[in-house]
Subunit: 650 residues, 2 copies
Amino acid sequence: MEGECKRRGEGQVEIGVMMEAVHKVEAAPPQSTVDKMKLRLKETFFPDDPFRRFKGQPPRRKWVLGAQYLFPILDWAPNYSLSFFKSDLGISYAKLANLPPIIGLYSSFVPPLVYSVLGSSRDLAVGPVSIASLIMGSMLRQAVNPNTDPFLFLQLAFTATFFAGLFQASLGILRLGFIIDFLSKATLVGFMAGAAIIVSLQQLKNLLGIVHFTKKMAVVPVLSSVFHNTHEVLFLLLFLWSWQTIVMGISFLAFLLLARHVSIRRPKLFWLSVGAPLASVIISTLVVFLLKAQNHGISIIGKLKCGLNRPSWDNLLFDSTYLGTTMKTGIVTGIISLTEGIASGRTFASLRGYQVDGNKEMMAIGLMNIVGSCTSCYVTTGAFSRSAVNHNAGCKTAMSNVVMALTVMVTLLFLMPLFAYTPNVVLAAIIIAAVIGLIDVPAAYNIWKLDKVDFLVCMSSFLGVIFISVQEGLAIAVGLSIFRILLQTTRPKVIALGNIPGTNIYRDLHQYKDAKRVPGFLILAVEAPINFSNTTYLNERITRWIENENSMEEKETNLRFLILDLSAVPTVDTSGISFLIDLKKSTEKHGLELTLVNPTGEVMEKLQRANKIHDFLGVNSLHLTIAEAVFSLSSQNKLQQQEVSSTLFI
Amino acid sequence: MEGECKRRGEGQVEIGVMMEAVHKVEAAPPQSTVDKMKLRLKETFFPDDPFRRFKGQPPRRKWVLGAQYLFPILDWAPNYSLSFFKSDLGISYAKLANLPPIIGLYSSFVPPLVYSVLGSSRDLAVGPVSIASLIMGSMLRQAVNPNTDPFLFLQLAFTATFFAGLFQASLGILRLGFIIDFLSKATLVGFMAGAAIIVSLQQLKNLLGIVHFTKKMAVVPVLSSVFHNTHEVLFLLLFLWSWQTIVMGISFLAFLLLARHVSIRRPKLFWLSVGAPLASVIISTLVVFLLKAQNHGISIIGKLKCGLNRPSWDNLLFDSTYLGTTMKTGIVTGIISLTEGIASGRTFASLRGYQVDGNKEMMAIGLMNIVGSCTSCYVTTGAFSRSAVNHNAGCKTAMSNVVMALTVMVTLLFLMPLFAYTPNVVLAAIIIAAVIGLIDVPAAYNIWKLDKVDFLVCMSSFLGVIFISVQEGLAIAVGLSIFRILLQTTRPKVIALGNIPGTNIYRDLHQYKDAKRVPGFLILAVEAPINFSNTTYLNERITRWIENENSMEEKETNLRFLILDLSAVPTVDTSGISFLIDLKKSTEKHGLELTLVNPTGEVMEKLQRANKIHDFLGVNSLHLTIAEAVFSLSSQNKLQQQEVSSTLFI
């Protein structure tokens, strides 16, 4: 149709003349408050509509479905396929958390079994992950020194794990899954990079074996304590270290980084970067074993007891002195590990085209950690890297977790003596290689290119983590993100629209060069809910628009109509309604006529209700489209002018 | 144009055929990050554009304007007109704050003078106000008992006033005026009602003269302490009270309430409700004086020293034991009084059609209170009721404040002895009458009718104030309001659109009965910024839509296109962008083609930038209007089908 008008090449008044039927603005069919509340709650807490599949099923089927909902194992057990043997970074990650290596293995045994029963993702491989491990280690280290008081530290770790699980499960049960949505990608990119740097610094300690080391996590104290101990460092380098250690460490680090580099270049070879750590553990162990390297100054893990996880619920410590620390640690690690777990689960689910129920995942991961805390495990979650391996290996079911658990079990039962010869320096190398992978510079660069504010968020979490502390850094970033959302509502965009010649289309005058402003009309679009937080601003902003217009417009066609396009206003509250009422009055003071265009369902409904109370909507104050509003107003305006002239010339 | 189609009575594919020119989506002209930031900051902190008036003025004029901007007195002094003598509730309000009556008079002398120099509103009448007075009284009472330790209490009051002023001024200087916008009308209605009830309860104490009274502010302790002292109460009623007091109190209370009732019915008689208190003070004083009623058991204020405010900066108490209390009190009273002051200022400004600079008002009120705290005044602000009197009396300038200050000065200097005979019971009656006026049931009812969530906010602040405490009640209400804003972004509306037959208009299928869904198309509109907080939700929501459609649609016309209308999406962040990219991929998995319609300037810009990085926008993936998208897609689709068939029948 635009075409026709173009051919005729007419202004929009002509269009108006062609336009006969003017459409009424309708309100949505009435709906009781209770129903509305129900819907709102459903959208808030059950956005994924978990009970959809139950609809219209025979009761027996419903029972089956319900059982499958609770224990997805019933869903896939009939047709599972084995995943290939997968390596386990548990040992080194345990070191990240300043925990004894064996805890890492324990944590790779029980949790996968629990998840394979409760979890709904088919690709997720659960176990300890670097980021959660290092946060737990760093936060607990502020309360207890793991070197001087290892057992207490272990107790705190279990307790924190317990709280993490409790927190995660309750998030799921209370359907509050959306809380983790507030950790934006920008936040996480900055956070992980910062954490990685902190950890590498912390590794200095292990690498240089400094004894009097700061318990703090931030960069400044760490560095300072490195420098304060320089004499010690030099002493160590000169006398205590052996060239073998240095050679071994550097060579394995190089190997690991190379593996990661290759696997990034060739996604098909992804397993390389995951296999490499295990390989280097095995190789280094063999080397040490064969060359008796431990006698040449290479420190090794030493004897590890055989046997499966021993119960640890008697080690949970709810002593008031440490309760604060453990709860805080539990919550932070809980959220972080949830974020990684859910994110990876969703990623692979979408690759396979199936849905993951976020809240159910949270319950599964939460229970997994509660059980873990009672069986000598620390925080575990779905690990992205290993899940990727699962996925590339094309495993169809969560059975892979069972398989992994079994392999770990074998290790725990029979292979422990071999680990005795694993050199610590290799574990350090594995850690450094792992955390370096967390620094994602290209992602940060893309964020910078796309959205400067997001980049600010990213940087603030990065710098916050580095210079203040892990939790403060996170808090700042999240606070900024939330403040941004509030600001978008508190200072909404108000856009002036113009007509695109030869059409009924009205668009942003600033965005579309060929859009023309309609003489005598001021057409504004508000792009946010109109509520208490922005009515004052909108009032001032619109007044400014009107004044600018009046100053710009040449006299003969002075402003006569204000059209407010409400298409982009999803909701109004009582303040918003009274704002519209006041605007109506004040525009009349300016000698303008206010017209509202295309209010959405909820807005329309409230307008009607408000109109019942203080009747302010005239005949012409609602239109379905801007074009129709412009047409009917300008024509009515013509009539008035004619009347005026006729009265003059009688 | 819609008309034509109606006559022909065609479906929108026909319309499509008529539609030749398909319009390109344009991006806003490029703009440097710095400029964007500048604009954003300006809109955030200088929404009222205070420097507009300076633009393009000769330097000398600029100086004059600058001086007038700082001291509006220069602006109106030349042509002021006197307001008529206005009554002063200072004395009774001071009692509300548990302060000696004289402080009330002091606070009605200095602040008006300060405001008349700095303030920018012409109608605002400043002085003590009930709500701020009672908050200050109640909050300070929790730290110090005004009866046992009156001087310390006085010091705390001055200090709190100082902090209130400091807080208000800094809000203004930092351009953070929008903070008071977060006290929505709903919050205030509930808050005031709650506070009023608390105060009336507190007046029980003054009325019944209970000595061992709770220092708490909440209802429960107050009531309990009333009941625990019933024996004392009865004792008082039986032996210590005189029928004269009761008669006098009740009769004057009746008189005051009647006056308010009348003035509400007849807005013209507004001055009645404001004149009444002064009248009753004068009358009761005369009665007591003539009948020597003080000898018949009516307690009176007693001697008040003549003379103007004495300096009080040496009474400011920054002792660490009370610093917390005074600062908290200062901030709460500061915000509350600002809200009343600015609100009344804006109301009358809009009635007169002039603008009030919110941030400048804050500085003025803040400085006024800082000065006040050094001259024996407590928190003051613009009072709505008395400003209304100013307005109805048609006074054009803030000179009315000067006049009022002068009258108060005369009182302070010469008329003090008269107050000696003013009975306390009348002041109690004035307070009760004043605070009962704060309970606005009709407003609460309207809120309930308009917006249930707002009503929830209102109730929570009401109940919070009554059962927990003034500040907690406020905090809860504000928290709820903010949470609501966040929720609107976190759970945005996603609406399915349909075509209104015979037009190019697409509207909400739920809202418009005659809108028809276009076979083969799913047309969704998102009504919020797409950002980190809602991408997960949108993903699940849209997947649900697609599944529902596929289940509903009969096979022969199965879903082929997903049109996403971005008209109501003001901004996206990086998460939003990657959401759109993923959606493109996942829809392709579902065998759908995704098309974006009418992205706003910022969104369009980011889409282009993102497209440079990971090229995902096809030729057909952007359209200006839904109608054009539907047309071009369905026609292209026809072509494909023809090809298919031709290939089949070769």
